[in-house]
């Protein structure tokens, strides 16, 4: 089976794809931090940040719809912020009754709610762009260069590699359970909730043991190729002049956006 569906990388020969992964990771984080720093209702700055996103999108050749479609993932979380609609002091805009409560939407509340959504929407899209235009192994290298401790990047690299192996295994287990989840006429099928939870727990335990034993075998494979506690990797990336210029330019633009937000 192929769970390549997990891999969010989208192969293209674009400017953004060729950029050094460090640059992409760094600029993405700065951009997201900048969004978080923008005050509520800084419309001009939001537009600026959006243009920055559009430009990046254009450079990636992925099409504007690409990140837009995927950004829907953060939408459910917006529910959490709905309460600010009613709770900020301000001019009442409209009010309604619901289950004996009186809800009043204020203008400040609306302003804050919309601002939170815009910030989140822009940030999520930039993160989507990052992983769509950067192969995950390159992203791991970028983390290494950005001084993330080696033990963490190594765990992440293993996680990425075995993610596919183990999720395949889980899906096969789930299939096996499904294909034996039968019923005969006249009986209530399915068993009790506790029994079902126990079966799920057994599957988790089963998976744990197999993963544990697999890690033993992998360790053996590493030993037989000379592993002795240290991991060495080649540095496959070199910062090119263009990479520095792009970083500088991006930071300058983000700074301008910040200034716009505080005018």
């Amino acid at each position: 089976m192929h769970f390549d569906a997990f891999d969010r990388y989208h192969d293209k020969q674009s400017f953004l794809h060729r950029l050094d992964p460090r640059v992409k990771a760094l600029v993405t984080v700065i951009y997201i931090a900048s969004n978080a720093l923008l005050p509520d209702g800084a419309w001009l700055a939001f537009v600026g940040a959006w243009i920055f996103l559009l430009a990046a999108n254009l450079l990636s050749q992925l099409g504007i719809g690409y990140t837009f479609k995927r950004s829907i993932i953060a939408l459910p979380f917006a529910l959490i912020a709905v309460t600010v609609l009613f709770s900020m002091p301000g001019k009442p805009l409209s009010s309604f009754f619901f289950l004996a409560w009186d809800f009043t939407i204020t203008d400040m509340g609306l302003l804050r709610f919309v601002s939170i959504l815009i910030r989140s929407w822009l940030s999520v899209q930039m993160a989507i762009l990052l992983v769509a235009a950067t192969r995950f192994p390159d992203l791991i290298h970028a983390l290494e260069h950005l001084r993330v401790p080696a033990i963490l990047t190594t765990i992440i690299a293993f996680l990425y590699r075995y993610l596919f192996v183990l999720t395949d295994e889980v899906f096969r287990l789930l299939r096996a359970r499904e294909s034996r989840s039968a019923a005969v006429a006249g009986n209530r099928s399915g068993g009790g909730v506790l029994w079902r939870a126990k079966v799920a727990g057994n599957m988790a335990g089963q998976l744990f043991l197999r993963s544990y034993e697999r890690s033993d075998r992998i360790y053996n494979a590493m030993l037989s190729r000379g592993y002795s506690g240290h991991l060495y990797t080649l540095n496959p990336h070199e910062m090119k002049p263009g990479d520095y210029y792009v970083t500088a330019f991006a930071i300058a633009v983000i700074f301008i956006v910040q200034v716009l937000g505080r005018l």
Partner: protein, 252 residues
Amino acid sequence: MMPVTHVVNNFEMPECDGDVLTVKDLHFSYPDGHAALHGVSFNLCSGDKVALVGPNGAGKSTLMLHLNGILGGHGEVEVAGKCLTRDNLPAIRAMVGLVFQNPDDQLFSPTVFEDVAFGPLHMGLPETDVRARVNAALEAVRMSSYQDRLSHHLSVGEKKRIAIATVLSMNPSLLILDEPSAGLDPRARRTLINLLRELPITMLVSTHDMKLVQELFPRTIIMDEGQIVADGLTHEILEDEKLLTAHGLEKP
């Protein structure tokens, strides 16, 4: 490259209208767009023992997953005259026993007993029936003494047999096995062959082991690139070297 379709002459197949299984013009694409089946049709009759062969990626496992409704493509699948629909699904799963290639995928409970009892328990049978079915299923694969063993500690060959017992306990009328002999040593393989020969159930078995095909199955279906390219008597198909090599197979 389009697969070459060969017409196998001089046929002497058991005649029936597919009383156990009818598949008609089945099409299926995976979510990533890969078209794994395009237009598969065949029948299985009560008592048939049929081999399903073909190169890696031919679509054998995909086809098998359709037969008890784990995957749902376009086309018609009828089990014992019942169409495969959402409502029929649980009933059809009670009739079609699917054994996966890797017994580790099949066995998710700590003990052999719990695993074999899963199907009957899920059907909501009373305890005495469950025990009777477990005993009968383990008896059939000759593993009665293994009830309380931990599945984790069994050898591959033993696991395979338990995996078969987990579906036998559901009293299926059709047994579907995905590559049952992979990874077994010759002795375990021989035991498995004898077991399959003795089981009095209709079965469809996918395999890469052409010798197994020759020994066990009167009828063979060859799949390649999501289509059935041959369906006929095994001894005739195995004579047709051109057909075999065209689909990456070899004479045993």
